[in-house]
Symmetry: C2
Subunit: 132 residues, 2 copies
DNA sequence: CGGATCTAAAGCCATAATGACCTCCTGATT
DNA sequence: AATCAGGAGGTCATTATGGCTTTAGATCCG
């Protein structure tokens, strides 16, 4: 699977957050979406670190969108949530067992690169505003 | 990752097999590609079961293409190799922990479906002949 | 027959995904 | 300033998945 739960939770969270005028805390969000708080908290932290969300500490704290919904690309959300870009097949992480050490230059490399580009282009062309 | 090693090995194997006029055994292929024989054998079996390869048992046996290279779609190869279609995010396999049991009808479902369609269309439009 | 080769099913191990917990730090509220 | 809500961030347990092995059996060729 290209995406993990982290991306799912991130996108659903952003959908909830954008509908609120007040900051929403991790706990409240976890209850609202019926998902584990601890896991969600880390995802929200990542989104904040990437500048997608703004976090407010202390009482009545929580998270709010740091950017306009139309300026947040899906790519950036997924990157923040997953911690790495979504890859069709990551030859590099398999470099030690690549059939002939021909990383990126084997018979199927052109296909993989082409496929990857299709996906990247699709995701780069979408913002949160487009899909929610 | 969308694809696993199974797909990589399947595609590389098909590339080798198509270049041979004689059947190639799993062992020979494993040596040629420097990949584990036992694992490869299983993948070749799947390809044979799907009618992509034709298997010949006994001495001097092995595998040959069962179809013309331009009639084998990438989709069918991946499906055979992975045992399931390549999914962006498989809500169904996560049904037990889906935020509200709203499988396929949540806020991001339209996006996921759209994304998935993009990928399916791309793969369905390609044959082995196109990429090798 | 007898070895070569595919078929099939079960199971093992390492890693990554998922999630629980705990402590510290920050900032609002009183 | 004291208190408390809530984020930051680390560690650890659990579980799912990927990657691969093993074993036993069925076929086919010579």
């Amino acid at each position: 699977m290209l995406l993990t739960r982290a991306s799912e939770y991130a996108l659903l969270s952003l959908d909830s957050i954008r509908k609120s005028d007040k900051p929403i805390g991790a706990e409240q969000l976890a209850n609202e979406l019926s998902i584990p708080k601890s896991f969600l908290a880390k995802i929200l932290q990542s989104l904040a670190k990437q500048g997608i969300l703004e976090s407010r500490k202390g009482a009545h704290g929580g998270f709010v969108l740091a950017q306009d919904i139309n300026e947040i690309t899906i790519t950036s959300v997924i990157l923040a949530a997953e911690g790495k870009p979504p890859a069709v097949f990551d030859c590099n992480s398999y470099s030690h067992t690549c059939p002939h050490g021909t990383i990126g230059t084997c018979a199927i490399s052109p296909f993989l690169a082409n496929f990857q580009t299709k996906i990247d282009d699709f995701l780069n062309g979408l913002t949160l505003g487009d899909i929610l």
